[in-house]
C-alpha cells in the first residue's frame, strides 16, 4: 500500500426512484420525475466533484401477475433528454445514461449519444444494458425476446457498430472556411459500412466527431458473458458488489479478464452501487438505517422480493412467519415483470436462504432485511470516509455509484460531510482536472479506427 500513490476515488451519483430503496413516504421525499429533482442531484454531485451523474433505465412499468405494481415509486423520464438538459445546468460532471442494446438501433443510438457529447462539451457516457423480457418487448416493434446469449452478441455488435459510426468522421473533417467555400475537407465524411451477424448497414453518419471522440462506455451485468463483454469493451462497470470481499473478487476477476483481451488494469474502472446512512455516532447511524429498512421493506415489498425468486403467488404467506415450504416454479410465466432478475439460480438461492433462516431463526421479514440490498456505508462521516477509502485503496473497486433513500436532497449530506474528509486525505480531487468525462476518469482517448480509412478509398 505504501509504495503506490493514493488511488483517486471515482464517484457517481444517481437519482433513486423506481425501487423499494427510495422512500416516497418520507416527509422530505420529492418528485421522482420533475426536472428540478435531477438538477438538484447533478448540481450537488458536481459540487462534490463527482465524476458522473448516472441514470438507470426501465422500458416497462413493473407489474405483478399482470397488474401494475402499486407499492414502489414508479415512473421515470427518458434518459437522453434529461442528460441533455442537465448539460445546461452543470459544467464539469459526466452525464451517463443507461440505454438498452436490445430495443435500440445502432444508427439512432450512435447519433443520440454523440449529440449528447457535443451538447455537453465531452461529458457523455453510455451504460449498455441487455436486460429484456417478452413483457418489455411488447412495447417495441421488434417484439420480445432474445435469449441471454444472443443479447450479448447483439450488445457487442451494437457497441462495435456504434464505435464505427463515431469514428466515421475524421477529427478535422469540418473546415468551415468561409473564404474558400470549403465546409467539408472530404466529400465522404461520415461514410460507413458495417456487416455483422446482427447488422447489415451502410451509409453516411450525421454527427461529426464528438469532443471525446468516443463517449465513455459503461456496462452493468455480471454473468460470465457479461463480464467478458465488459472486460473486452467497457471503460467502466457498474456492479452490485459493494462489500470488500465480494468487491475484491469481482475486481480481480475483471482485471484478469481484461488482461486476456490485451487491456491494462487502468483501462477499465469498477464502481459498485452503494447506499449510505449518515449518523452522529455509529449507534445513531445504525438506528437510522434500521428505521429506513423498516420503511423500505413493507409487507408488499417483502412479498414481491420473494415472489420474484419463487416465481409463485406468495400472498398467502405471513411476512412474520416462516419461509414458504414449497419449491420455486421456474416453468410458470413470470409473476413479477419489468424488473431485472439478478439472482442466478432459483433453487440454489432458495436453498441458501432456507439455510440462513434456519441458522438464525428468521421470518420472511427478517430474511428480507438480510438479503435485499442494504446501505453499504452506515456510520459517521469519518467512518464512512474511512471505509470508502479502504474499499478503493484495497481494490474492492475504483469507486462507487451513490444513491440516497431521499430524493432529491439525500445526497447533500454526503457531499457536505463525507466529501471534504476524502479530499483532506488526498483520495478525492478538490477540483476537476478537465471538462471531459474521459479525462476526469483518467481514461486514454482512443485513436480513430485505422480500418475506416479503407472505406473512404473504396466508396
Amino acid at each position: 500500500m505504501t509504495t503506490r500513490s493514493r488511488k483517486q476515488i471515482i464517484l457517481a451519483a444517481y437519482v433513486g426512484g423506481v425501487n423499494e430503496h427510495t422512500l416516497w413516504e418520507h416527509p422530505d421525499a420529492g418528485s421522482q420525475i420533475d426536472f428540478s429533482t435531477f438538477r438538484h442531484v447533478a448540481q450537488t454531485a458536481e459540487r462534490g466533484r463527482f465524476d458522473y451523474f448516472f441514470l438507470a433505465e426501465g422500458l416497462a412499468l413493473r407489474a405483478r401477475a399482470g397488474r401494475i405494481f402499486e407499492h414502489d415509486i414508479a415512473g421515470r423520464p427518458d434518459t437522453l433528454p434529461v442528460l441533455a438538459a442537465l448539460a445546461a445546468v452543470t459544467s464539469h460532471i459526466g452525464l451517463v445514461g443507461t440505454l438498452n442494446a436490445t430495443f435500440n438501433e445502432p444508427y439512432e443510438l450512435a447519433r443520440q449519444i454523440a449529440s449528447l457529447d457535443h451538447l455537453s462539451g465531452g461529458r457523455a457516457g453510455w451504460n449498455v444494458v441487455t436486460s429484456f423480457d417478452a413483457f418489455t418487448g411488447a412495447n417495441f416493434r421488434r417484439g420480445g425476446f432474445l435469449p441471454h446469449s444472443e443479447r450479448y452478441v447483439r450488445a457487442e455488435e451494437t457497441v462495435a457498430t456504434i464505435r464505427r459510426l463515431w469514428d466515421s468522421w475524421a477529427e478535422d473533417a469540418i473546415v468551415a472556411d468561409k473564404a474558400s467555400g470549403e465546409f467539408l475537407a472530404d466529400a465522404d465524411a461520415g461514410a460507413f459500412v458495417q456487416t455483422s451477424s446482427q447488422f447489415d448497414i451502410a451509409g453516411r453518419f450525421t454527427v461529426p466527431r464528438s469532443p471525446q471522440g468516443r463517449p465513455v462506455i459503461v456496462q452493468a451485468g455480471v454473468s460470465p458473458q457479461g463480464r467478458d463483454f465488459a472486460a473486452s469493451t467497457a471503460d467502466a462497470i457498474f456492479s452490485p458488489y459493494a462489500t470488500l470481499a465480494e468487491g475484491k473478487a469481482f475486481y480481480a476477476d475483471i482485471k484478469e479478464r481484461a488482461a486476456r483481451f490485451g487491456r491494462g488494469p487502468e483501462e477499465i474502472k469498477i464502481l459498485p452501487a452503494a447506499g449510505f446512512v449518515l449518523g452522529d455516532s455509529q449507534t445513531d447511524a445504525e438506528e437510522k438505517a434500521r428505521h429506513i429498512r423498516e420503511q423500505q421493506l413493507t409487507d408488499k415489498t417483502i412479498q414481491v422480493t420473494f415472489e420474484q425468486v419463487w416465481n409463485r403467488d406468495l400472498s398467502a404467506y405471513d411476512p412474520d412467519g416462516p419461509l414458504p415450504d414449497i419449491d420455486p416454479d421456474p416453468e410458470a410465466a413470470p409473476i413479477i415483470q419489468g424488473r431485472a432478475f439478478v439472482f442466478q439460480d432459483r433453487f440454489e438461492t432458495v436453498r441458501k436462504w432456507r439455510e440462513l433462516a434456519d441458522e438464525r431463526g428468521l421470518t420472511l421479514r427478517g430474511l428480507a432485511h438480510e438479503v435485499s440490498g442494504k446501505a453499504a456505508y452506515v456510520g459517521t462521516a469519518a467512518q464512512i470516509a474511512d471505509q470508502l477509502d479502504a474499499f478503493v485503496q484495497e481494490d474492492g473497486g475504483d469507486g462507487v455509484v451513490i444513491g440516497s433513500h431521499i430524493v432529491p436532497a439525500g445526497l447533500d449530506e454526503f457531499v457536505d460531510q463525507v466529501v471534504p474528509l476524502l479530499q483532506e486525505r488526498g483520495s478525492l480531487r478538490t477540483d476537476y482536472e478537465s471538462t471531459t468525462l474521459r479525462d476526469n476518469l483518467g481514461l486514454p482517448v482512443p485513436a480513430r479506427d485505422a480500418e475506416l480509412a479503407g472505406i473512404e478509398a473504396v466508396r
Binding site: W24, E25, I33, F35, R39, G58, R67, I68, E70, H71, D72, A74, G75, R76, P77, D78, L80, P81, V82, A84, A85, A87, A88, F103, N104, E105, Y107, E108, R111, Q112, S115, H118, L119, G121, A138, N139, F140, R141, I174, A176, K178, G181, E182, F183, L184, A187, A189, G190, F199, D200, I201, A202, G203, R204, F205, T206, V207, T298, D299, K300
Partner: protein
Amino acid sequence: MSSRLRIGVALDGAGWHPAAWREPSSRPAELFSPDYWVDLVRIAEEGLLDFATIEDSLALQSSERSGPDDRTDEVRGRLDALLIAARVSPATSHIGLIPTVTTTHTEPFHVSKAVATLDYTSEGRAGWQVKVSGRADEAAHFGRREHPGTEVSWGDPAFDVLVAELFDEAADAVEVVRRLWDSWEDDAEIRDVATDRFLDADKVHEIDFEGRWFSVRGPSITPRPPQGQPVVAALAHAEVPYRLAARAADVVFVTPTDAAHARAILDDVGAAATAVSREGSPLQVFADIVVFLDERDGESAADRLRRLDAVGRPLTSDARIFTGSASELADVIAEFGALGYDGVRLRPGVLTDDLPRIAGDLGAELRARGLFHDAYEADTLRGLLGLPENIPSRYAAV
C-alpha cells in the same frame, strides 16, 4: 388578445440558404456547439416568438432527393434535434420547442417518452414535428426493413403507394405516442401512505395498440407530461400529408406561394379534416415562408439573396421565398391572417442575420398593427397557441 397571429421560427444549420454559413455573421464552426443553439433560441424568445422548430433527419443533408451528394461547399452534419431542444430547455423559459423526430424507423415508445421528457425539462413547452422518411439511404442506415429503393422514384405510381403507406404508418405512430401520453391519468400518482400505495393501478392503462406495422402494449414508463398532450405538428404539401395532419396533428405547416394558393390550401386542409372526420380543436394552419429581411442602411435583402445565390447552389424551396422589409413581410403575414391562417413559421435565410431581424423589426411591426403580443401570455406551448390546456386523458373515467 386571442385573435393575434402566432409566429414561429424554423431553425436549421446556418439558415435555409445553402451558402448561409459563409456570411460574415455566421458561426459555421459552432454549429455543433450548445452555445450556438442556446443563443439562437434566446434571440427568438427575446422577440416573443411563439415557438422554434428544429429540423432533423436520419440522413446527412444532401442536394439530391434520393441519396447523398458529393458536395463539400455546404453545411453537412447535424445533431439530434430533440436533444438540442432538451439542451436549450433549461436555458429558456417561455418559447415552445418543437424538434423534428422521424417516425419511419424510430420506435413510437421511444418517441413518446422522449417528447414527454422534453415537456418535463421545459415545463410544458414541448412539441414534436412528425416526419416520415421515404429514402432508401435512410432505410440502409437501419437495414431492417424492405425498401423499394432505387427502383421507385418520385413521379412513379409505385412511389405514391410507398408514400401513402409511410403516412399511414406515421399516423399509427402518432396514435401510439398520444395514447402513451394518456396512459397515466393525471392523478395516477397517489402516494397513499395508509394503503402503502404510490400509484393507483386503475389509473395507469395499457394502450394495447395493434396495427399493420407494429403493436405496442404500454403503459408508458414516463408519467403523463405537463401539457398532457404536447403539441404535434407536421409539414404538408399535398393531400396525403394533409390527411395525416388532420388525423394526427394539432398544427400543420403549409407552403403557399401566393394569396390564391393560400386560399386553395386552406380549402384542401379543411376538406382533409372533413374526410377524416376530425374531432376536437380545429387543425391550426401555419404558412411557411423563407425570409430574407432588409438590413437597415445596408444591403437590401434581394441583393443579399442574389449574392448568396451566386456563391454556390442557388436557393430553391418548397416554400415562398420572401425578400424585403419588415413592414412588407408584415403585410404578407397580415394577409395570411386575414385569410384565416393561425400564423406563420418563418425560415430565416441566414439565421444569424435574419432571425434577429424577425425577432426585432418584424415583431415590432406586427405589434404596432395589433397583430402580435407584447408579452408571453401563457407558460405552456398549448397555451401560447391557444389550444385547450386541460385535456383529460382519454382513459380517464367520465
